[in-house]
């Protein structure tokens, strides 16, 4: 597991221990990575973050178009793996969680413990500067710094 801010680690570790998730990615709605577990290549993290943020944005747009309000989560179930994607509010803004799980877990378990993760993150977030807008020219610098931190380099 790699995290950008240390306070994310204990709740995320608890989620990983309970859910048995194979891959987990936490990011902002802009696709900026907050934490990851299970990914071995930075290019995969970047791609997953970008796609996850895009799916979330598309889902929000669909919900608005159809008058459904806001959808809670997106679930894709394959024959060997499932994918769970959910946006949630934190004191640091709106984040997205992307979880890939296999036969050792289930959609129900991931959903159950992800809910606990969001509550734990809400409780653990320290007071301080939050919602700092990321300017376009800072984005690539922030992303690279995040990736170095997430892969221990």
């Amino acid at each position: 597991m790699r995290v950008i801010e240390s306070w994310v680690a204990p709740p995320l570790q608890a989620f990983l221990d309970e859910s048995g998730a194979r891959l987990t990615l936490l990011m902002t709605t802009a696709g900026q990575v907050i934490a990851q577990d299970g990914f071995t290549r930075s290019v995969d993290v970047m791609a997953a973050a970008a796609l996850g943020a895009a799916i979330n944005a598309s889902t929000d747009a669909l919900a608005e178009l159809t008058g459904a309000g806001r959808f809670g989560a997106v679930l894709h179930q394959g024959s060997k793996q499932g994918l769970y994607l959910r946006a949630f509010d934190t004191p640091r803004g709106r984040w997205i969680g992307l979880v890939v799980y296999g036969a050792e877990s289930s959609a129900g378990l991931v959903q159950l413990f992800f809910q606990q993760l969001t509550e734990a993150l809400a409780g653990a977030a320290p007071a301080g500067p939050g919602n700092v807008p990321v300017l376009a020219e800072n984005f690539e610098h922030e992303l690279n710094a995040s990736l170095r931190s997430l892969f221990g380099r």
Binding site: S106, G108, L109, Q111, Q115
Partner: protein, 116 residues
């Protein structure tokens, strides 16, 4: 759906049964529920399905057929699961002093009706 809810409510009429539900076994998601206050359907579904799957794998490793009943007994209550056909699991949550014998009979009857 009405007959499904009637089936679940019949199980909950057994003394000491706090709730009954139908769960998608491979997903651990709720299909239908009749639960008393204080029970979280999503949690019951996910945990019951996961435990049942574990027991099933243990039984198979021991050379036994798929279990017809799985029961978790704890200090203040019991969780019972019975397969109901087609990746479905019937689940009941009972208090410590529930009539488990009757609950098991009702669950098996309900599972047979649902599977048919």
């Amino acid at each position: 759906m009405n007959s499904l809810m009637e089936t679940l409510e019949r199980v909950t009429r057994v003394a000491g049964i706090r709730g009954a539900m139908l769960v998608s076994e491979s997903d651990g998601l709720v299909v239908a529920e009749a639960l008393a206050e204080g029970l979280e359907g999503a949690a019951v579904a996910a945990l019951a399905a996961s435990l049942t799957l574990r027991l099933r794998r243990t039984a198979q490793t021991a050379g036994l057929a798929v279990p017809a009943v799985v029961q978790l007994k704890a200090e203040t209550g019991t969780l019972i699961t019975v397969p109901a056909g087609d990746d479905l699991l019937l689940v009941a949550v009972a208090e410590r002093d529930a009539n488990l014998g009757l609950a098991r009979i009702e669950l098996k009857d309900a599972a047979t009706r649902l599977a048919s």
